[in-house]
Every structure is written in structure tokens, then in C-alpha cells.
């Protein structure tokens, strides 16, 4: 199929940036969205132009790097997929596709479609872990029985890949789905109880310091999240926060 791409080009963090139009042809419906960008970049390089900078690593939906806002939606029009898993068959011959970086003041643009998501890492470092003595006589995790439902919910929360689509989508640029998942993942398990209080207080504090907006429960994040992280995790975080504050 033949397509018209309108892509956000920005030379660096200080550059104003703007949309640039590129026609592209002979795109197969079997290609992934990133493969389509690869084709474009090959053409640009052959012409001696600057290729479009974008983040990617695993190309199978697990690393969370491929941050693109496609036709007004994070990771494009499909549900439950990352940009690298988005097939070109979701588009029609002759379509115009808008491609922008994930936008949030807490995710500053580095170049073109590449954004700096280290704010997520700082939140994670503030409490998204458990401390285990690794001296050699560490207790086997499986020796502590855990209810099936709690184990399932913790596992579901743990599937968050930290891609930032929730922030990119949210009208308030709120990170609560991400932080909710990271808090709930541990708070549902006995191993997470020891540091439960400090974890939620410190992670929320860091989240606020990073300048993310406040959740207004629009639910947009849950719809656009490639891993289907549920809003329930935000409710769990709010309860944990309340418990830790009183």
C-alpha cells in the first residue's frame, strides 16, 4: 500500500520541532509499524537525509521502548499492542498517518520520536523493589504460600513494561497507572509487606516531584495500555497510600 506519513521532526531538546510529510510506497500489510519506519529511514539515508530517530529494542512487546503516538493514540489504533507489534494491515492504502513522540513535560523529547523516560526509573528507584538478603541462605520464594487470586493479580500488575503510554494518553499526563501497577505488584504479596509503607510514600512523592499530573479517573490509560493494566491498581495504590499516611 501507499501511504502519506506526517512525522514529528525535532533536532534536539531545544529545537521547536514540527510535522514533516513523507510519502511512502510498497508497504506490505504483514510489516510491523517499526519495519515500515525502517523502510522510510533506509530511503532517507540513501538520499543523504537525516533518518527519523525512534526508540526500539526487543520488537516483541516486552521492553516498552517503542514510544510512538500514532494517529492520535499511544501505540496506534490497535488494542493491547505496542508500536512494534502494530501491523500495517491496520491501515488502508492511501491513508495519512500522523506520528508523534509521547508528550509530557516529564518525558522531554531528546530527538524526533525519542523521549527521555528516566522519570519512570527514578520513581522505580524510590521504592519499586524488595530488599532480600542474598548471602546464600536466601529463603526460596515458593516456600511462602500465596493465594491464587493474589498471585494472579500481582502477576498481572507485574506485566507493566514501563512504556509510558498511560502518561502519553492521559489528558493530565498522570503516571498513576504505572505507579499503581508497581505499588500493587508488591503490596499483593507477603514479600512486599516489609517495605509497604515506605514504598508507596516514596514512590508517590517521587511521582509528584517529577511533575506528572493528577489522575481524574478518565480511564484512558487502561484502554491504551498495551498490557491491559487495570485501573484497579490505582485504587490499590490509593488505599495503600491512605493506610501509610494514617
Amino acid at each position: 500500500m501507499d501511504l502519506t506519513l506526517k512525522i514529528w521532526r525535532q533536532k534536539g531538546p531545544e529545537d521547536k520541532g514540527g510535522m514533516v510529510t513523507y510519502p511512502i510506497s510498497n508497504i506490505s500489510g504483514h510489516m510491523s509499524f517499526l519495519e515500515m519506519i525502517d523502510v522510510l529511514n533506509e530511503e532517507l539515508i540513501n538520499k543523504g537525509d537525516e533518518p527519523v530517530a525512534f526508540d526500539h529494542d526487543c520488537r516483541e512487546g516486552i521492553c516498552g521502548m517503542c514510544s510512538m503516538y500514532i494517529n492520535g493514540e499511544a501505540h496506534g489504533p490497535d488494542r493491547g499492542v505496542t508500536t512494534c507489534q502494530l501491523h500495517m494491515r491496520m491501515f488502508k492504502d492511501g491513508d495519512t498517518i500522523h506520528i508523534e513522540p509521547f508528550r509530557s513535560d516529564s518525558f522531554p523529547v531528546i530527538k524526533d520520536l525519542v523521549v527521555d523516560r528516566s522519570s519512570f526509573e527514578r520513581i522505580q528507584q524510590a521504592g519499586g523493589f524488595i530488599s532480600v538478603n542474598t548471602s546464600g541462605n536466601t529463603q526460596d520464594a515458593n516456600s511462602i504460600p500465596i493465594g491464587k487470586e493474589d498471585a494472579d493479580n500481582a502477576m498481572d500488575a507485574a506485566t507493566c513494561i514501563g512504556c509510558g503510554a498511560c502518561v502519553a494518553t492521559c489528558k493530565n499526563s498522570s503516571a498513576m497507572l504505572f505507579v499503581g501497577a508497581k505499588v500493587a505488584q508488591y503490596s499483593l504479596l507477603p514479600q512486599g509487606q516489609v517495605e509497604a509503607k515506605d514504598r508507596v510514600l516514596n514512590m508517590v512523592k517521587q511521582m509528584d516531584l517529577e511533575g506528572f499530573g493528577n489522575c481524574t479517573n478518565t480511564g484512558a490509560c487502561e484502554v491504551e495500555c498495551p498490557k491491559g493494566i487495570s485501573l484497579k491498581n490505582i485504587a490499590i495504590m490509593n488505599t495503600e497510600y491512605l493506610k501509610a499516611s494514617i
Binding site: 499526563s173 511521582m207 511533575g211 499530573g213 489522575c215 481524574t216 479517573n217 480511564g219 490509593n238 497510600y241
Partner: protein
Amino acid sequence: MSGFITSSIGKKILMALSGFFLMFFLLQHLIINFMSVISADLFNETSEFMGTNPLVQYLMQPILFFGIIYHLVMGMRLDLQNRKARTSKYVMNKPGENSSWMSRNMIITGITILLFIALHMVDFFFPTIKAHYITHEHLDSFQMVAAKFTNPVYFGIYTLAFIALALHLLHGFQSSFQSVGFNNKKYTPTLKKLGNAYAILIPFGYFVVAAFHYINSL
């Protein structure tokens, strides 16, 4: 505790609590309004009671004022803060694909309600306070209400405000439960239906009372 009040989640929880309180108030206010449809005397007696009872005047009324002011000041502050969290806008954005109009426009429906509250205070609240505490004259509440609703423009403005209220509550009711951490596979779907019923029936009830007085005046 001081960290709680200024944190994003603390503000959300307090926003929800003030929302709960306002929703409870709306129900109580509507019950009194309905008395004006049933009998003028009953309505006047109840208004007199509400206007003179010390518990209502010195405890419940201040709490209500605090609740409303907290809710609207916080609502506007949060909205401004949220706007600042994304200063460069998307060239192409499709929010309608993933969220409801009501959830995205709480500030618009909220400010509409605020303007209505201001008008409503000028119409009914201030005259009542004046009669009770300054001029000490007897006030016929029923007559005061009936007189206002002879004007079709008035009836129209009130109707618009009730629509804004319904839109605000269609998102607000279920949102406040999520904010205080209540999200349950079994009960949340029922709660959402209950919220939709509340959000439509309560403003509709207010509309019925206004329509009754307007039609009566024709």
C-alpha cells in the same frame, strides 16, 4: 499528615470526600424542594426550620460551605496543574477513542455549576439570610420560589445547570469511589449503574420541581 494533603493522591481522596458530601447534600436539598410541590405550608415550615435551627445553621451550613469551597478551589487548582504537566500539545489527538466526554470536561461542567450556585445564592440564599438575621421579617419561602419561576429565561438557566450537573455526576459518582480506593470486580459494575441512575434522577428531580413552578405560573 501534612504530606498527605499536598500529595497528588491525598488531594484526589479529599476531592472525592468533598464530592461524596456534596452528593449527599444534593439529595437532602432535593427532598426539601419536593415539599414545595406537595404543599406550600410544608415547604414553608421546613424552610423555616432549616433557616433557624442552630444545628443546621452553625454546624451543617459551615461544613457545607467548606466542602463546596474546598471542592471548587481544589478542582480548579488540580486542573491548572494538570494542564501544566503537558505544555506541548499533540498535533493529532483522539481522546474520544479512550475516554468519555464527561470525564474529560469536569472543569467545564464544574464551572457551569459554580456560576449557577452564585446565581442561586443571590436568588434565594442571601434574601433568606437577610430576612432571618438583618431585617427579622417573616419570609414566605414558597412565594419567593414561585415568583422566580414565572420567568421562562430563569427556568431555562436552571434547566441548563441541571444538565451540567447530570454530566458532572455521570463521571463524578463512580470516579469518587475509585479515588477512595474502592474498585471491586463484583460490586463496581453495579455501583456504576447506581451512579448513572443517581446522576440522571437527581438533576431530573430538580428539573421537575422547577417545571412544576413554571407551569403553575402560566
